[in-house]
Every structure is written in C-alpha cells, then in structure tokens.
C-alpha cells in the first residue's frame, strides 16, 4: 500500500448545477405616525405583496419600529447584513432598494479590477503537465488509432 489519500473537501460554487439566492431574509421596519415612513407605508400596502409573491425564496419580516426612520435590512447566507434607510423615499424608489438588497450577494463591497475570477488552474500552462500526459496514456491504452500520439507529441519533442 504505497498510496495514501490526503483528505480534502469539495468546493461548491453557487450557480454551477444549482442556484441559491443569497438573500435569505428581508426585514422591513416602518412607523405608523412619522412622516418619513409615508413612502414606506405606501410601499408595504401596494408593492410589497406582489414583490413577496415574486420572490418566494426570501423571507419577509414586517415589523413596526415607532419613532424611527423606516429601514430595510437584508440578511445573507454568508451571515452578513445590509441595511438601507429608506426615509422620505417614494414607494417606487423603495422597490428599487428592495431589488438591490435581493440581488446583492452579501459580500463586502470592494473594488475588483479583473473581470474574471477563477479557481481553475490555467488551461494553457498549468502547474504540471498532467492533462497532457493523461490524454496520451488514455489514447495509448484505448487501442485507438496510434497517430493521435504522434499528433500530440511534437509539442514535447521540440
């Protein structure tokens, strides 16, 4: 027994195979009396039922918070929260803020300069030449036409 296995855990990436919406809960706080909540109260009455119906994966919790500005707090799967104060906003604007909270990933907002992020090794020049040799051995033992090997080999024979 000359081979020993090192324990590793597979890495999951959202969107491959299945997609999980990252926003899991949306807390909506309002006040019955304050003027800053007027837009929020209208939003709760007009837009919110439809919005909640369209987004069944998000848990909506509406609760009063007297004598405070209205606020929406999104809770995300990674454990972080995102809060938006929606004082004195129009209902349509509050709807946009709710969509922003729904679409957010919950990660910390940071500047990214590279458009593509990857956990795969580079295809054209990986750390070792595994994939190359792999295909040669595969074709070799599959008793396919042997000119495949010839075609693959010049890269090494140079």
């Amino acid at each position: 027994m000359t081979i020993r296995a090192l324990e590793r855990v597979s890495v999951g990436q959202n969107g491959i195979g299945s997609f999980i919406l990252q926003c899991k809960r949306l807390d909506i706080h309002y006040c019955d009396h304050s003027g800053s909540s007027r837009g929020m109260n209208a939003f709760i009455k007009t837009h919110l039922p439809n919005f909640a119906k369209k987004n069944p994966a998000v848990e909506f919790a509406v609760s009063p918070r007297p004598r405070k500005h209205p606020v929406m707090i999104g809770h995300y799967i990674n454990g972080r929260q995102k809060a938006i104060c929606v004082a004195n906003m129009e209902p349509s604007l509050i709807l946009k803020k709710a969509e922003l909270l729904r679409d957010a990933s919950g990660d910390k907002v940071k500047r990214v300069n590279k458009p593509v992020t990857s956990i795969n090794e580079s295809e054209t020049w990986g750390k070792d030449a595994i994939s190359n040799v792999q295909s040669v051995l595969a074709l070799d033992t599959n008793e396919d036409s042997p000119e495949y090997i010839v075609l693959l080999l010049p890269w090494w024979n140079d």
Binding site: N14, D103, D107, N120, E123
Partner: protein
C-alpha cells in the same frame, strides 16, 4: 411563480440529457451580445491550428428571431409576439475554405478529447477568457434579468484546450460550442469620489459615482464535434 416552477424544472434536469434545441431557440427575449460589426474578415494565425470558422452557408440563421444571441432561458414563452429588446444580429460567417474545413474535421475531435476547455466569449463586444466555473463581473448592469436566470452565450472568438486552439474570424461558429452562464446577482463597488479643482476658484467639486455590475457564473462549457457543422 411560474418562473420559480420553471427554474425548478431546469435545475432538476439531468446534465446528461440533451436539452432540446427549441428551448433556447425560442424567440422569447433577445439581447445581443455583440454590437453590429461589419469588420472585414481577418484570418488569424494560431501557433497550433489556424482555422476559419467553417459553416455550411445554407444553415446560417437569417431570421432575426430564430435564434437569440443571449437568451434568458428560464423565461416562459409569451403567447404574443416577443418584445425584442435588442434585435438579433445574425452571425457574420465567412465562407470556409476547404483547408480550414479539413483542419476542423481532423483536429476538433482532438481538442474535444483534452479534458478542460477554455473559450473567449464576447458579451456586448468585450472578450472574457473563461473556463467552466468562472465568475464574470460585467462592467454594467444587465437589464431585465434577475438572479438565477440562465443565459446562453453564443459569441466566442476562441475555443481551446491545453494544446489546441480554434480561432474564429472574428467569431467561431456558434454551433460548435454550448456555453451557459447563470446570473448570480448585482454587485457594486465603493463609491468613487473624484475631486475636481479649478484654478483660482475656492471651491472643489466632489463628483461621486457608484455603479452596479452584473455577476455571471459560467455554468456549462461544452464543445460539439465537427458533425455539428456538417463535417
């Protein structure tokens, strides 16, 4: 509600079962990945293979609504005429030479046997070199999409594996590969504040900007054989 049901169907489908072609050919809602380009066709030279994208001329999709460049797949087809946000631009294909056809027929199976593939997809004119599982941060917020939608990307200028590269001129034939991306959501970056100063003025102007970016995840990359273009 219907969208979530449809999404359930999509996510519970086995990856091995081939998707019916009509599913993404539905003229549901089309967004073009590329602006209209009338470039003169250029033959690009690759160190390994150089091949123009080979296409049988009879199979060029001429109907603008027949195939969509970038189609939100999880949308349910509407009975009335689809609202085309952006008219589909048919792929500009050059007449393949017989030499390039022979090269594709000979070497594309080899490219397929090498295990991992990359491709340079173009989304609204910008190239992104991706492999399966990569995350793309688009420099804009894509309109009319919600998280979980699946896009089919059909403009690519390069297909490749470790040893082989197929270059298109300018694009590879869209029947040679299948690339799908899932919308993950929208992200922002910290607000940028640019201070504008003018000489001999005692005020500085603070210009604020904060943009939203759509995040995609490449969920599927599949290379089809040369029989997809009738070779």
């Amino acid at each position: 509600m219907s969208r979530s049901l449809l999404r359930t169907l999509f996510e519970l489908r086995a990856p091995s079962t081939p998707r019916p072609a009509a599913q993404f050919k539905l003229p549901v809602r089309s967004l073009s990945t590329t602006p209209l380009r009338r470039d003169s066709p250029t033959v690009s030279e690759s160190p390994t293979i150089s091949a123009q994208s080979a296409t049988a001329p009879s199979a060029i999709p001429t109907n603008p609504t027949e195939a969509a460049s970038l189609v939100a797949e999880s949308r349910s087809p509407t009975p009335q005429a689809p609202e085309a946000l952006y008219p589909r631009i048919p792929q500009q294909v050059n007449q393949p030479t017989s030499a390039s056809q022979a090269t594709i027929a000979q070497l594309l199976p080899l490219l397929r046997t090498q295990p991992a593939h990359y491709l340079t997809v173009h989304i609204w004119g910008r190239p992104y070199l991706v492999t399966a599982g990569d995350q793309i941060r688009l420099p804009f917020k894509m309109p009319c999409v919600v998280p979980g939608d699946v896009l089919r990307l059909d403009r690519a200028s390069t297909l490749g594996s470790r040893d082989f590269t197929l270059k298109g001129s300018p694009y590879v034939d869209e029947r040679l590969f299948e690339c799908r991306a899932t919308i993950l959501g929208t992200e922002t970056e910290p607000m940028r504040i640019k201070i504008k100063t003018k000489r001999r003025q005692r005020r500085n102007k603070h210009v604020r900007s904060k943009h939203h970016f759509t995040i995609l995840r490449i969920s599927e990359v599949k290379i089809n054989g040369p029989e997809a273009v009738g070779l």
